[in-house]
């Protein structure tokens, strides 16, 4: 069954829709959690599937299946991390999960699409679902409305630019299939039309990845969306976007200097901007938004190498980013009592309130900063090596300096958790399954740091 994972998540969403009109609504959270684990297992089982559908517009290979597995892992974690029903407007919970599922479905379709129109369709399926669930939040300040409007407008504009670029691609190749485009694109890349076509096409994915200059939406939306929604938006679309960036930049192989230069500039600007602005943030989710912008820049280092190693490094980095970022969000979710945003100052005395959460925060912060022996370091090592190997020393140096800048705010999180004390430290009680999830995150982040070999080989084989 080639599209079993997609089918599975589709049925999952439909099932939740039925639940929403049925009487068993009360246990919705349990059902959603069980189903999401099931969805992940199914995607894991179908990792070796291979084939084509819809006249070659939809390809199922190791590359797509690996990404589907990652998306499902992220989806499953986001649902498992869900803690507070009050965070979402009353009565919308089944729909909330349903649209999350649809969005994940769109992302999964995206990584399998090898044809322009199906790429746009899948991207929009995913985006529209997010437009719907963004405002469903119980916040006093209505910032979620502003956030969802911003996401909608910026999303529409970036889709427009992407379609513009795709129009050019079609003009060049007279085909919407990537396999046809790859034949003619390299020779067009020395001309402005080829560059414009490709860069504009990439813009839609830059938006999802929140790469400079398409990053404007992310801090406000991170701040405005509910904690779980942010965790979703902050990770899953980025994974799919990374997949498509790899797919589409590989069209330019064996490499156009102009394209690489553009990507280098974007990567450098993105990490420098993200890290510098991250220094002054007070809200953890905003901080993570800027950290996400910076990480998009790091990720581009692997992609712009236009090599197998570089791309495998990018996938590896995306994977560890998924885990460390979700781990950070989990801390936010568990700390916030009613689903409100958490300020960095609220972390004070965390190690007294809950040693496990403080440890989780420290591990993920050190990983985000790229300190060994965490996965963030190993991922960065692969990225740096990939970019260096392709001859891009300057971007490696910029990345290195950025690592130092970023350590300041990541360390600040740890500092607040460990060395700042509060007069009344109200303990945070964690349920057993929450503890297990915390330990799972810690294990994954450290495991990916010291034992990267197996996963990396899989990723390399999939490229």
């Amino acid at each position: 069954m080639l599209i079993l994972p997609e089918l599975n998540i589709f049925l999952f969403s439909i099932l939740l829709l039925f639940i929403s009109i049925s009487k068993v609504k009360e246990n919705i959270l349990t059902y959603a959690k069980l189903l999401s684990v099931l969805a992940f297992l199914v995607s894991l089982l179908s990792i070796t599937e291979n084939g084509e559908l819809f006249s070659g517009a939809y390809r199922i290979d190791l590359f797509s299946q690996v990404f589907k597995m990652l998306i499902m892992a992220g989806f499953c974690l986001v649902i498992l991390m869900f803690k507070n029903k009050r965070e979402i407007e009353e009565g919308f919970l089944p729909e909330y999960f349903m649209f999350l599922g649809f969005s994940a479905l769109g992302l999964m379709m995206l990584v399998s699409s090898v044809e322009l129109i199906s790429i746009v369709l899948s991207l929009e399926i995913s985006s529209y679902s997010l437009y719907v669930i963004l405002p469903i939040r119980n916040a006093q300040t209505k910032i979620q409305i502003e956030a969802s409007m911003k996401y909608l407008f910026f999303g529409a504009v970036s889709t427009g630019i992407m379609l513009f670029g795709m129009g050019y691609l079609y003009g060049i190749a007279h085909s919407t299939f990537l396999s046809d485009i790859v034949l003619v694109l390299p020779e067009f890349l020395s001309q402005p039309i080829g560059i414009i076509a490709l860069v504009f096409t990439l813009t839609g994915f830059f938006f999802k990845l929140s790469l400079f200059p398409m990053h404007f939406w992310s801090p406000d939306i991170y701040e405005g969306a509910s904690n779980n929604t942010t965790a979703f938006i902050g990770t899953l679309p980025k994974i799919a976007a990374a997949a498509l960036l790899i797919r589409i930049t590989m069209l330019a192989f064996p490499g156009s200097m102009q394209l690489i230069n553009i990507l280098i500039i974007l990567a450098a600007l993105s990490m420098t901007f993200g890290n510098l602005v991250g220094l002054v943030q007070k809200d953890i989710k905003r901080l993570l938004a800027y950290s996400g912008i910076a990480h998009a820049g790091y990720l581009m280092m692997g992609i712009l190498a236009l090599s197998k190693d570089g791309n495998a490094a990018a996938v590896y980095y995306m994977t560890i980013y998924l885990f460390m970022n979700l781990a950070c969000f989990y801390v936010v979710i568990l700390i916030s009592k009613t689903g409100e945003n958490v300020k960095i100052d609220d972390l004070a005395g965390l190690s007294k309130r809950s040693p496990l959460l403080a440890l989780l925060l420290a591990v993920s912060a050190f990983s985000l900063a790229g300190i060994p022996p965490t996965g963030g370091f190993t991922g960065k090592l692969f990225l740096f090596t990939g970019a260096f190997e392709a001859g891009h020393l300057p971007i490696v140096l910029i990345g290195a300096v950025n690592t130092v800048i970023s350590i300041f705010f990541y360390l600040n999180l740890v500092r607040m958790g460990y060395s700042k004390d509060v007069a009344v430290a109200e303990p945070i009680k964690l349920a057993t399954h929450e503890k297990v999830l915390c330990y799972l995150f810690i294990f994954l982040i450290i495991y990916m740091g010291i034992m990267p070999s197996g996963l990396f080989e899989v990723f390399k084989a999939s490229i």
Partner: protein, 501 residues
């Protein structure tokens, strides 16, 4: 693995002759102990387990010493396991005459650090011990690694427990000190990482052995040297990269200061010996004048700054800048005397400064002040303490018969044979050392006298001071066994460097 790196390994590495992986055991024993501690709840059991872990690790490391062959320059007790084949990263361990004492120094100081914190650390002792032991693992790992990535992982991983030690258990300005420490060292380290990656792209492997002693081009050598040197100069720390050190030393708890002074700073000097000289010999010679000037400035500057300190801990911290200057001075004379002197000084500084920090810790626990004036006139109140303090102070300014005397003489002979002016200034620095240490000693022993009652040193404190005292005397009176162990490796380094002049 590449054919060339295999060849380099055969040439330089003797695989482990023992029946068990002794280096891995030494590295990971503390970590296992640390994990065990995390599972425990009983305060007493935690302390005892930590101490026993430290002692067992020391005993195991002594096994290394007794099985160490001194008649060869080869790396010994080698272990080699492929780790990340895609990038040719291996788990390769091995030690030679340069590293063995640094490992022993680490394993000796770990139980001492635990003992000295026995009562002074009041809260979160479990986490404290975990940090100490985790750091021990990382430190031993740094000295044993023969793979760049493995080395880098240990090198960086050590920052985390050290950061936590300062940030959680430190003094009033712990936030400032810990973040400054982290950012300074990380800044150097990322350039180290870039250098390491460029070594990989040149050699096709991260193996340290196959990167050593090769004829790289001059431009490459210069860039690699600079990248390495930034990282190591910050760690040492050399003037003008030293500003993190007084802050970190002063704010860290006693155990942290001791570990910092005794082992952490040595890692910088070790880096120069292990990477800069063998990988970039031409560039090392090219930059030697600069390094020597910086070392001498460090010696003199450290001495003068010490003269004006009123905080005991800060004084000793700044004296480290001066002492470490002697070490880098010795290294960059490229003479056997200089190198041996540098190695000896690494051990001496570790022992003596570690002991002095312990002394400050002992008095701080009692009076809660590190100001010299507050602690003046202890001669009558704490005779045993003052005895130890005086003894280690003599050692710190290289009194004949103590370890530092031997080390400084070696360095000075090496320096005078190459650079007379630098030698002259180094001697001035040595005189300054006598001045500031005697000034401190005078204040502490005779200064203001009143009728305070302060308990003298306890048995526990005497116990951990005695081995250090014996080492000071042993190395001061009969340094031959120490020199003999490191001689072969150092002279091999010298001859190899000459080949690639």
């Amino acid at each position: 693995m590449g054919c060339e790196s295999l060849k380099a390994m055969e040439q330089l590495l003797i695989m482990n002759p023992l029946n068990f992986p002794i280096l891995s055991t030494t590295i990971f024993l503390p970590l296992i102990g640390a994990m065990l501690i995390l599972l425990m709840r009983n305060e007493k059991a935690i302390k005892v387990t930590g101490l026993i872990t430290g002692i067992i690790t020391f005993v195991v490391s002594m096994l290394i010493y007794f099985n160490f062959k001194t008649d060869t320059y080869h790396f010994q007790f080698g272990e080699h396991i492929p780790w990340i084949p895609a990038y040719n990263i291996n788990y390769t361990l091995g030690i030679d005459g340069i590293t063995i004492f640094l490992i022993l120094l680490t394993t000796l100081f770990a139980p001492i650090c635990i003992l000295c914190s026995w009562t002074s650390i009041k809260e979160r002792f479990k986490e404290f011990l975990f940090c100490i032991l985790a750091m021990e693992t990382a430190m031993i790992g740094v000295f044993c690694s023969l793979d760049f990535i493995l080395f880098y992982i240990f090198w960086e991983a050590m920052l985390i427990p050290m950061y936590l030690l300062i940030a959680v258990w430190g003094g009033p300005r712990k936030d400032y000190a810990s973040i400054k420490f982290f950012i300074y060292t990380l800044f150097g380290s990322v350039f180290l990482l870039v250098a390491i990656i460029s070594m990989y792209l040149t050699n096709g492997t991260f193996s340290i052995l196959s990167a050593m002693y090769k004829d790289y081009g001059m431009t490459f050598q210069i860039w690699v040297f600079l990248a390495f040197a930034i990282a190591f100069a910050i760690k040492v720390p050399m003037f003008p990269f030293h500003t993190w050190l007084p802050a970190a030393h002063t704010e860290a708890p006693t155990a942290g200061s001791v570990f910092l002074a005794s082992v952490l700073l040595k890692m910088g000097a070790y880096g120069f010996l292990r990477f800069c000289l063998p990988v970039a010999p031409k560039a090392s010679i090219y930059f030697a004048p600069l390094m020597i000037i910086l070392s001498v400035i460090g010696i003199i500057y450290g001495g003068f700054v010490c003269l004006s300190q009123t905080d005991m801990k800060k004084l000793i911290a700044y004296s480290s800048v001066a002492h470490m200057g002697f070490i880098t001075l010795g290294i960059f004379t490229f003479t056997l005397f200089g190198l041996e002197g540098a190695m000896l000084q690494m051990l001496n500084h570790g022992i003596t400064t570690g002991a002095l920090f312990l002394c400050v810790g002992i008095i701080y626990e009692r009076t809660h002040s590190r100001e010299i004036y507050d602690n003046a006139g202890l001669g009558k109140i704490m005779p045993i303490y003052v005895g130890f303090f005086g003894f280690f102070s003599l050692s710190a300014f290289a009194f004949p018969g103590t370890n530092n005397f031997v080390g400084e003489i070696y360095v000075l002979i090496g320096t005078f044979s190459q650079h007379k002016t630098a030698g002259f200034f180094a001697v001035v620095g040595a005189v300054l050392a006598a001045a500031y240490m005697l000034r401190l000693l005078k204040q502490i022993i005779w200064g203001r006298v009143d009728k305070r009652v302060i308990a003298d040193m306890k048995i526990r404190e005497i116990i951990y001071m005695i081995p250090l005292m014996l080492l000071v005397l042993w190395m001061g009176i009969f340094p031959r066994p120490f020199v003999a162990v490191m001689e072969k490796s150092l002279s091999f380094l010298m001859t190899q460097m000459r080949t690639y002049y």
